[in-house]
Amino acid sequence: MKKLRYAGVLTAVALALTGCGGEKVGADKPAAAGKDCGTFNLTVSPWVGYEANAAVVSYVATKDLGCKVVEKNLKEEIAWQGFSTGEVDVNLENWGHEDLKQKYITDDKVAVEAGSTGVKGVIGWYVPPWMAKQYPDITDWKSLNKYAGLFKTSESGGKGQLLDGDPSYVTNDEALVKNLSLNYKVVQSGSETALIQAFRDAEKNKKPLLAYFYEPQWFFNEVKLVKINLPAYKTGCDAVPAKVACDYPPYDLDKIVSKKFADSGSPAYDLVKNFKWTNEDQNAVARMIAVDKLTPDAAAEKWVKDNQSTVNTWLGK
């Protein structure tokens, strides 16, 4: 006990000595951001592509407009709820969700659309590249039954396994398998993490895998998955969920903002509205975050520096 006391005194003295020479808190105050932008709440959905959008918009909003951006990490569904409780102002990448648009935009009138992000979303069935190389005809859905035996696993009950993904996505896969008379069973992987891990393992160890996936996705930087061609999508072919026998529609990923934010006249709203880029742009930023391990802010800074003209169009310069 006594030793402890001496140790305490010694530490205090040591601290006092070293401390006196230290830099004081608040010595270099950051320049207070002026301008008339205010604060807005930005939901950040749990995938890297979205993070890329969020990183760039938030970087520009903070640096060029002097806004304060509060990022909230939320699942999509909860972000939509946030429009009605006032906790969320901006969603920068929305995948369809016609039902939620109906509820929150048309019925409750708490949110409004803020145009396309320019990024095109693709959903479909994919195989790892080695399979596409070894079985070139596999990309045609008609030959899937021929290869069903390859995809058998402990989970698929004697049929081929079609691995489905994150529960956040509405899929037609059970109906597709039935309506296209495929000898497959839909197995729920349950998460994006599980899907990516499965593809990584499949490509590395040359294991067969057929799974639901989507673009843009940072993982394409690592493994170039190959899409299976299902019967082509025609408008309305997916109208009745139980009778779907065609591919998923192409998605024009768009932005949603709260009514309150849209009506606020904040320059940030104009930025969000004008924000538009391409799959390649998003992939580049996502890659810096996911593969190069840059912080989102650093990744955004780098991209903005290289693409100042695009940014200027968002800012209306």
């Binding site: 530490t11 608040g26 006032g86 906790e87 939620l100 402990s154 529960p167």
Partner: protein, 650 residues
């Protein structure tokens, strides 16, 4: 579910119960081959029943614009933000939190010393220093702020409730039921609705944590009050104490150490919610874990998970030391030392408010990236070395055990399964087992997710059997050998507090997306608690009893099987029970790695609004499975308990 009460039963042993069980099973299998595929109540992934749609339609009716909930939300939000301002977030117009890292370390170590002892004070300082060196200071402080807020609020609710349940038998029964529900209802079920009540933000995260974390404190407070020696209470009454005096001067002080165990459990439960609460924007280490998993960065996720484990171990050891403190240590010298220490703490806080080096954790000595790299390398190595072998194990277990069991459960008509389970419950546990089984199975049919429930039941049964087997083996080993016990505890602690999300990725690599992966994850999560309870039970067997067995020349195995296990029966029942609850609480996590069924339904209900009702029904189905299995095992344990235990004398 953990009923710790016991009672003397008049033994009504039916002849050859195992034969009856065998006959029932054989009849079931025979009937299965005749009836399979009939009335199996299949419901597809995107399909819903009328009940599910009704739940969907009424989801938004609750909580909107309610003054009561708003008041709670504002109060909780302010409380959490206050704590964050103190330790984690820049506040009060300063670029740093009100108290810098040096101040936090000093205050924490001081508290550990004052409530525990100097050893845990050193551990506290080292632990906090470690998370700082990991490069996770701010995240850890956010987590700590939220955890402290949730734990304090939990205790505010739980301790009075626990006292009430300790004093009143009726309250005890009701509380046990409600707590069972709170602990088995998957968090995902109430996570999204909570954001409707309390909006997105600290309040919802804190309250979600509270719901999950409060039950142990209620249970253990009630248990503590109930186990105060009756003579002390009688002595107080015989001197004319009022009820209030008995409570404040006798019951509460004498319950202290058990209540502290309850607080300890509450803290552990709150920490295990860190990652889940991150799904509704709870700040802190959970965010780091989730972000890392988006890019399958096992290393970074492990680093953050490790910080959670370190915080958990520190908090665990400090609370344990506080609970074990003997009464006699409050003396003058200590008081003087404490006062001196207090001055030192104030100095440290002043430094941490004044100088940058003491305010912001120095970033140049970060080893977080090294830890992350080592973790990734080890994971990759394990995957490369064992990858092929593990798939073989998976397929053998799945095809040999899981698939037949699942086929039997899902392929039989629902009424056949019901009849068989109720019959088995009746044989094993009498009416105490049969009635709850019948009610639960009836309600399961009503939830509309019968088929998925049976799939989950098959996996749950298999996982629980493995958990109990492993837990018994490890627990007996640790209970009989002090050295093993000392080494195994930290590993068990880590297994219990490391967020399952962290080890899901390596597991996915080893076993692929499958029900087996989910079972393996559940086993890792549930084995520690089972082992601990068994070990404690074995250690509590009176030395004299073991010596008596040894003195007549029993072999080790005979001592274990004929003396230690039977005497520790109550602890083992509790261990099975807790193992089951832990397995069930992993059902949803299992759904994220390919277990499908109820776990997937709940996760989907959280993510898609049109599946909300189904998710809620699936969550309730998990609870029903839990209640059913629990009641059957408890009733069976009661029936086989053939000697009265201590304290049963009327």
């Amino acid at each position: 579910m953990a009923s710790i009460t016991g009672s003397v039963e008049i033994e009504v042993r039916r002849p050859r119960r195992s034969v009856v069980v065998g006959v029932v099973l054989v009849v079931w299998v025979a009937a299965y081959f005749v009836l399979r595929g009939i009335d199996t109540l299949v419901l597809g992934g995107q399909e819903t029943t009328a009940l599910h749609r009704w739940l969907n339609d009424h989801r938004d009716d609750v909580g909107q614009g309610n003054v009561f909930f708003d008041a709670i939300r504002i109060a909780v939000d302010h409380f959490v933000v206050l704590l964050q301002n103190l330790v984690s977030q820049p506040s009060f117009d300063r670029p740093v939190p009100a108290i810098g890292w040096l101040g936090v370390v000093a205050i924490s170590a001081y508290c550990a010393w004052a409530f525990g002892n100097w050893k845990v004070a050193v551990l506290t300082a080292a632990g906090l220093g470690f998370v700082g060196v990991q490069g996770l200071w701010q995240e850890s402080m956010d987590t700590l702020a939220l955890t402290v807020a949730a734990v304090l609020l939990s205790l505010l609710v739980a301790i009075p409730l626990g006292i009430w349940a300790g004093l009143s038998d009726r309250a005890f029964k009701v509380a046990t039921l409600v707590l069972d529900l709170m602990q088995t209802l998957p968090t995902f079920v109430y996570l999204a609705p909570l954001t409707l009540f309390f909006a997105i933000g600290p309040a919802a995260a804190t309250i979600a944590t509270l719901i999950y974390a409060a039950p142990p404190a209620v249970r253990l407070t009630a248990h503590a009050i109930r186990s105060v020696p009756p003579e002390s209470v009688e002595a107080a009454r015989s001197l004319g104490s009022t009820r209030g005096q008995t409570l404040t001067k006798v019951l509460l002080p004498m319950s202290r150490s058990t209540v502290v165990v309850g607080i300890n459990q509450t803290i552990m439960a709150a920490l295990s919610m860190v990652t889940v609460a991150a799904l509704i924007d709870a700040p802190g280490l959970g965010q780091t874990v989730l972000k890392a998993l988006q890019t399958l960065d096992v290393g970074v996720a492990f680093n953050a998970g490790l910080a959670i484990v370190v915080l958990a171990i520190v908090l665990d050891r400090v609370t344990t030391a506080a609970g074990d403190r003997p009464w006699r240590t409050a003396n003058r010298r200590r008081r003087i030392l404490l006062a001196a220490g207090g001055v030192g703490v104030l100095v440290a806080v002043w430094f941490s408010r004044t100088y940058v080096w003491a305010a912001e954790f120095p970033s140049q000595i970060g080893i977080g990236s090294q830890i992350a790299k080592v973790a990734s390398d080890v994971t990759n190595w394990v995957q490369d070395v064992f990858g092929g072998f593990t798939y073989g194990v998976r397929d053998a277990v799945t095809n040999g055990l899981l698939n037949p069991l699942e086929a039997l459960l899902t392929g039989s008509p629902w009424w056949l399964v019901t009849v068989v389970v109720v019959a088995l419950a009746a044989v094993l546990g009498g009416w105490r087992g049969a009635v709850p089984a019948a009610v639960c199975l009836g309600l399961l049919v009503a939830t509309g997710v019968w088929q998925d429930s049976m799939v989950t039941l098959a996996s749950t049964l298999l996982a629980t059997v493995v958990v109990v087997a492993v837990g018994l083996a490890l627990g007996v080993w640790a209970g009989r050998n002090r050295r093993v016990d000392v080494w195994i505890r930290p590993v068990l602690d880590a297994g219990q507090t490391m967020p399952p999300f962290v080890y899901l990725v390596p597991f996915l690599a080893l076993f692929g997306t499958s029900r087996f992966t989910a079972i393996a994850a559940a086993v890792v999560f549930a084995v520690p608690v089972t082992t601990k309870i068994v070990a404690d039970g074995i250690k509590a067997v009176p030395v004299a009893t073991v010596e008596a067995a040894n003195s007549v020349g029993s072999s080790s195995w005979q001592v274990i099987s004929k003396v230690q296990l039977p005497v520790a029966r109550r602890a083992i029942t509790l261990a099975v029970n807790q193992g089951l609850i832990y397995v069930l609480s992993m059902v949803v996590v299992g759904g994220l790695v390919g277990a499908g069924a109820l776990g997937y339904d709940v996760a989907a209900g959280f993510a898609q609004s049109e599946l909300y009702g189904k998710g809620l029904a699936a969550g309730l189905a998990i609870v029903l499975l839990g209640v059913m299995l629990d009641r059957i095992t408890q009733a069976a344990a009661r029936r086989t308990q053939n000697f009265p235990s201590r304290g049963d004398k009327q």
